[in-house]
């Protein structure tokens, strides 16, 4: 019974009474350093940029707050100051301000805190400097700020950039994230994969130091959710199955792209005919290239029309089931209804179990699919449907008693579905799939003799 194919191939060190011996010895900390390195880079970057921003922007701002006090002064005159650096004329706005401190009057050419330095605050745009002076009129009393130790140093404009503080906050959060991530990833380096998995599943249900297993388990955690199907009641049977494989959004996207391509390429073509170039050889080359673009547009349009035709040609298909989720060994009733005016070569319904395995190959995720069980549960050929006589067929099927339940995890999936396959006369085959969920039979939960009818 316990041969290689029965699930014990990997660990064959034990005997039948259930014991294993001779543990494999390995160095500890087999986990990757990529996360700690990643978080270290974030942390170092955050600290460096935060330091630069703090030193060059935040500290001068705070110093300004501390050393300058608010007062009032009078605008005497305004001007645009001009200097030439490397043969380039640069400009900055300046206001001649008169203000009084403790009875002493001061006159100073100034604007913002950059103008406190002789060569700061200049820009190549003269108009910008002129527009900055517009709010200042001669004789006007305005708010100003002067330095307490040197009252001759004053400014009339002072704006504290909100974005500067926001950037500083962002850098601070980068440091915090880097630090937390680094501590967390360094801690996990020495943690076994089982402990990591247990922690990631739920720290609350897996008390790590508990001596007994006293937690409530999520028994269906690897079985797909049934709510999507069970929230859709049927009109004849209990549940209506969602019919998948109708890629509406990609189709809409492709249609819009094709229309845009078509309109632009033909627009350019017509434009070239109306405003034709003088040079004949250029004209021919232009027509060839524009013709190629138009040709691609026509091919795209044909492809989209064909896809739209296939997507909507089959019309409304209704599939209802007598019970859901399904259990191995139980019998179920299925209702198939197909409306529209169609003539079919054949129409078949299959019960399918598919294995889906995903793995990384370089930067791509490769998905492998394999049907491991397929049973045709309904088949009909050479018939017509009309508005008065749609296809309305009820039939039964039974899941094999040894069938595996549905299973879904990050990289592997066991996917049960009802496959619809229709071939309309003179048209390609159309396939649609309806996912179903199979749960494992658990003794005491239900009897195997029961059915889902």
């Amino acid at each position: 019974m316990f041969d290689d194919s029965s699930g014990f191939s990997k660990y064959s060190t034990s005997n039948h009474s259930g014991s294993a011996r001779a543990g494999k010895l390995s160095p500890s900390a087999p986990h990757g350093w990529s996360e700690p390195i990643f978080f270290s880079i974030i942390l170092i970057t955050g600290i460096v940029v935060f330091g630069i921003q703090l030193w060059t922007w935040a500290i001068p701002q705070l110093t300004f707050y501390q050393e300058f006090v608010v007062s009032h002064g009078t605008v005497i005159e305004t001007r645009v100051a001009e200097i030439t650096i490397d043969s380039v004329n640069l400009f900055r706005p300046e206001v001649l301000l008169e203000h009084q401190v403790q009875g002493v009057s001061y006159r100073v050419w100034t604007f913002d805190f950059r103008t406190l330095e002789p060569k700061e605050g200049f820009a190549a745009n003269r108009q910008l400097a002129e527009s900055a002076l517009l709010p200042f009129q001669s004789g006007q009393t305005i708010e100003c700020w002067y330095q307490t130790d040197h009252p001759e140093e004053a400014v009339v404009v002072w704006k504290s950039s909100v974005w500067g503080w926001f950037f500083l906050l962002l850098l601070f959060s980068l440091i915090v994230s880097g630090l937390v991530g680094l501590v967390q990833s360094c801690r996990l380096i020495a943690v076994s994969e089982e402990r990591k998995a247990a922690q990631s599943q739920s720290q609350s249900v897996f008390p790590l130091h508990s001596l007994t297993d006293n937690s409530q388990r999520l028994d269906w955690s690897t079985v797909p959710d049934i709510r999507i199907i069970n929230e859709s009641p049927g009109t004849h049977l209990a549940f209506r199955l969602p019919i998948g494989n109708q890629p509406i959004f990609p189709l809409v996207g492709l249609t819009l792209f094709t229309l845009a391509w078509f309109i632009i390429s033909f627009g350019i073509m017509f434009h070239s005919f109306i405003y034709s170039e003088e040079n004949r050889s250029d004209q021919i080359i232009g027509i060839v290239f524009r013709g190629l673009f138009c040709g691609v547009g026509i091919i795209l349009l044909i492809s989209v029309l064909r896809r739209l035709f296939l997507a909507f040609r089959l019309g409304l298909t209704l599939l209802e089931i007598s019970d859901h989720p399904l259990y191995p060994g139980r019998k179920y009733r299925l209702l198939l209804q197909q409306s529209g005016v169609l003539r079919f070569d054949y129409f078949s319904v299959d019960l399918v179990c598919e294995e889906i395995a995903r793995f990384r190959q370089g930067t791509d995720t490769v998905t492998n699919r394999k049907d491991v069980f397929r049973q045709t549960i309904f088949s009909r050929s050479d018939f017509e449907t009309t508005p008065n006589l749609p296809l309305h067929q009820e039939f039964f099927f039974q899941l094999p008693i040894d069938a595996m339940h549905s299973f879904r995890h990050e990289n592997n999936e066991i996917f049960w579905k009802i496959d619809l396959c229709a071939k309309i006369v003179s048209e390609p085959e159309i396939r649609r799939e309806c996912p179903i969920v199979v749960r494992p039979v658990v003794l005491n939960d239900l009897t195997l003799e029961g059915n889902g009818l």
């Binding site: 019974m1 699930g7 014990f8 990997k10 060190t13 034990s14 039948h16 009474s17 259930g18 014991s19 294993a20 011996r21 001779a22 543990g23 010895l25 390995s26 160095p27 500890s28 900390a29 087999p30 350093w33 994969e193 089982e194 402990r195 998995a197 247990a198 897996f206 130091h209 508990s210 297993d213 388990r217 028994d219 269906w220 690897t222 079985v223 019998k331 019960l351 294995e355 889906i356 492998n368 394999k370 491991v372 099927f397 039974q398 899941l399 040894d402 595996m404 339940h405 299973f407 995890h409 990050e410 990289n411 592997n412 066991i414 749960r439 494992p440 658990v442 003794l443 005491n444 939960d445």
Partner: protein
């Protein structure tokens, strides 16, 4: 990189202690390793060729994992950890116990692209930085190989 560092660090220890620790896992009172969902799995584990002072921590897990074409998935159903730095006293010759009610899914499965295995895994962390690990496989449910699955004929 870490494994290289550990190898360098651990080489003298391995030379001075050529005998590897042995982990023994046993399941309680049955000759079969076949369990049904909802059944209780219980057993014990102990260690040979290792002293109490050499052990830093012990982890015992009841887990499933996948093998096959896809990348490995793993789920831990039950997990226990005993560590000396957490104040736990670990005697290598005194059996450690584990006991859990097995879940309803996933069942052990032998498919074409996917296989699901259940096992009891005991991991021993030694004070010199090395680890020893042992698995004892068991089956949850009694599904045959998927290749033997036959359609049900209702006619």
């Amino acid at each position: 990189m870490s494994s290289i560092i550990n190898k360098i660090i651990n080489s003298p220890a391995e030379r001075s202690n050529p005998v590897s620790p042995r982990i023994v896992i046993t399941l309680d009172g049955r000759g079969s390793r076949l369990y049904q969902p909802g059944e209780t799995l219980a057993g014990s584990y102990w260690f040979d060729f290792v002293g109490g002072d050499d052990i830093q921590a012990v982890e015992c897990s009841i887990l499933w994992h996948t093998e096959g074409k896809g990348s490995e998935d793993m789920g831990v159903h039950a997990f226990w950890r005993h560590a000396t730095d957490a104040g736990d006293w670990i005697d290598p010759r005194r059996p450690g116990r584990f006991r859990t009610v097995l879940p309803k899914s996933p069942l052990s499965y032998s498919g074409i692209l996917i296989k699901i295995y259940w096992s009891v895994r005991v991991r021993l962390f030694l004070a010199d930085g090395r680890e020893a690990v042992e698995n004892l496989a068991f089956r949850l449910g009694n599904l045959p190989d998927v290749r033997t699955l036959k359609p049900v004929d209702l006619s």
